[in-house]
């Protein structure tokens, strides 16, 4: 009937402990919460060390001695905890920030801007009435939603022009409602997995 595997029992206890917060804050939940933070940090360290070995040390061992610079920069990251030499951590941070920004903005201009605008600037008339209506709604949605976020020109929120950001606000609210509906499904979809685990793996009352 009930599982005799200690791993399943520990997992079941921790699942119930973590769920107990929904009823009331309690010591069992605090225990589960602190366990989670601790193991997450431990896992971070393990993955960090493994990545340093596989993607850093492996290169050094193959004779790419320039990687010594990366190791130095990596160690300098921890200088932030030093009272006097904390500013040394700015060098590796600058590297990471420059790398991260460069990698993301170069493609964002294409994916988030050019492609999106090009897709909007297409013929509105489709082969059927419903298609045309959908194209119109989408076009109006894009233009008005964009106008809602213009804050540098105050005139767009006043007078006759003011209808555009207003309609944009309505379109965004409609879309956010859909997003809320999906969020409900996300959360319930996540918890159902725990319910299935408790009933199937732990109590073994479903297949």
């Amino acid at each position: 009937m009930v599982s005799t595997d200690p791993q399943i029992w520990i997992a079941a206890f921790l699942t119930i402990a973590a769920t107990s917060y929904a009823f009331r804050d309690n010591i069992v939940f605090k225990f589960a919460e602190n366990t989670y933070i601790g193991v997450a940090a431990g896992h971070l360290v393990i993955m960090g060390i493994k990545n340093i070995r596989d993607y850093g040390w492996a290169h050094l061992a193959q004779g790419e001695f320039i990687y010594a610079v990366v190791f130095l920069l990596g160690i300098l990251l921890y200088a932030r905890y030093h009272g006097e030499y904390y500013w040394l951590y700015r060098y590796p941070i600058a590297f990471l920030v420059g790398n991260g920004i460069g990698i993301s903005i170069r493609a964002a201009i294409h994916s988030d801007f050019t492609v999106q605008i090009a897709a909007t600037a297409t013929p509105l008339i489709a082969s059927d009435a419903m298609g045309t209506i959908n194209n119109l709604i989408m076009f109006v949605g894009v233009i008005t939603a964009l106008s809602h976020f213009i804050f540098t020109y105050e005139g767009i929120h006043q007078g006759a022009l003011g209808w555009s950001p207003k309609i944009g606000r309505w379109m965004i609210l409609l879309a956010l409602g859909a997003s809320f509906g999906n969020t409900v499904m996300t959360r319930f979809g996540m918890y159902q997995g725990r319910v299935i685990f408790l009933l199937r793996e732990w109590l073994q009352i479903i297949k």
């Binding site: 909007t120 949605g141 409609l174 996540m190």
Partner: protein
């Protein structure tokens, strides 16, 4: 006079960022080769950065234990769990692939991770009662699509009335597609502007305290 504490990091950010952008827009082999090295260094540096969280926890909870503040015993347990995972992971040399580590992960981390995120489901139910109310026209707009999408996502209703699913699909078509495309263009513009400002040194928040 060059301030080696601020100007050099700003210059590093600029140079690295420009090389990354040039790699995308040009086909010079020298740029491509340089950026390949930068990318690979970035992976190693990010790996080094993963340890910062553990150090922070050690400092915060170490202080809590030494000062015997409220709940200090939880801090002892937290650090103990952290070190158990680190020691077990390093012990066999197999890191996360080791059998004992996997066992501990499946017994402790997996159920906690899965439950912590998903227990928000209870708050969604409570929030739906308290918050999702058609108080006025605009709240009503959010309310109507939320309800229609929830109905469309609930399998029992489309099973009885298939058109409810088609309605849900339609809402995700022109309405969500149109509004979110506008949001996406705005967000993309904002991200690019912020990125350029950071690269040229107008945004220096990442450098921390003066």
């Amino acid at each position: 006079m060059v301030d080696y504490r601020r100007d050099i990091p700003l210059a590093i950010t600029f140079i690295i960022g420009v090389i990354a952008v040039l790699d995308y827009y040009t086909t010079f082999e020298s740029i491509s080769n340089t950026f390949t090295v930068i990318k690979n260094w970035g992976v190693v540096l990010q790996a080094f950065a993963l340890g910062l969280g553990a150090i922070n926890l050690l400092r915060v909870h170490g202080r809590r234990i030494s000062e015997k503040r409220d709940g200090w015993y939880f801090s002892v347990w937290l650090l103990a769990m952290m070190f158990i995972f680190i020691i077990v992971g390093l012990m066999t040399g197999k890191y996360e692939a080791g059998a004992t580590y996997s066992w501990l992960y499946n017994a402790i981390y997996l159920p906690l991770g899965a439950t912590m995120y998903s227990s928000l489901a209870f708050y969604m139910a409570y929030g739906s009662y308290k918050v999702l109310r058609a108080r006025n026209f605009e709240a009503g707009l959010l309310f109507i699509t939320a309800v229609l999408v929830i109905i469309g996502n609930t399998p029992i209703f489309p099973a009885m009335f298939p058109s409810l699913f088609s309605l849900r699909e339609w809402i995700f078509g022109p309405i969500v597609g149109g509004a979110y495309r506008g949001i996406r263009i705005g967000v993309g513009m904002g991200a690019v502007v912020l990125g350029i400002r950071t690269l040229v040194g107008l945004e220096t928040g990442y450098l921390g305290r003066r």
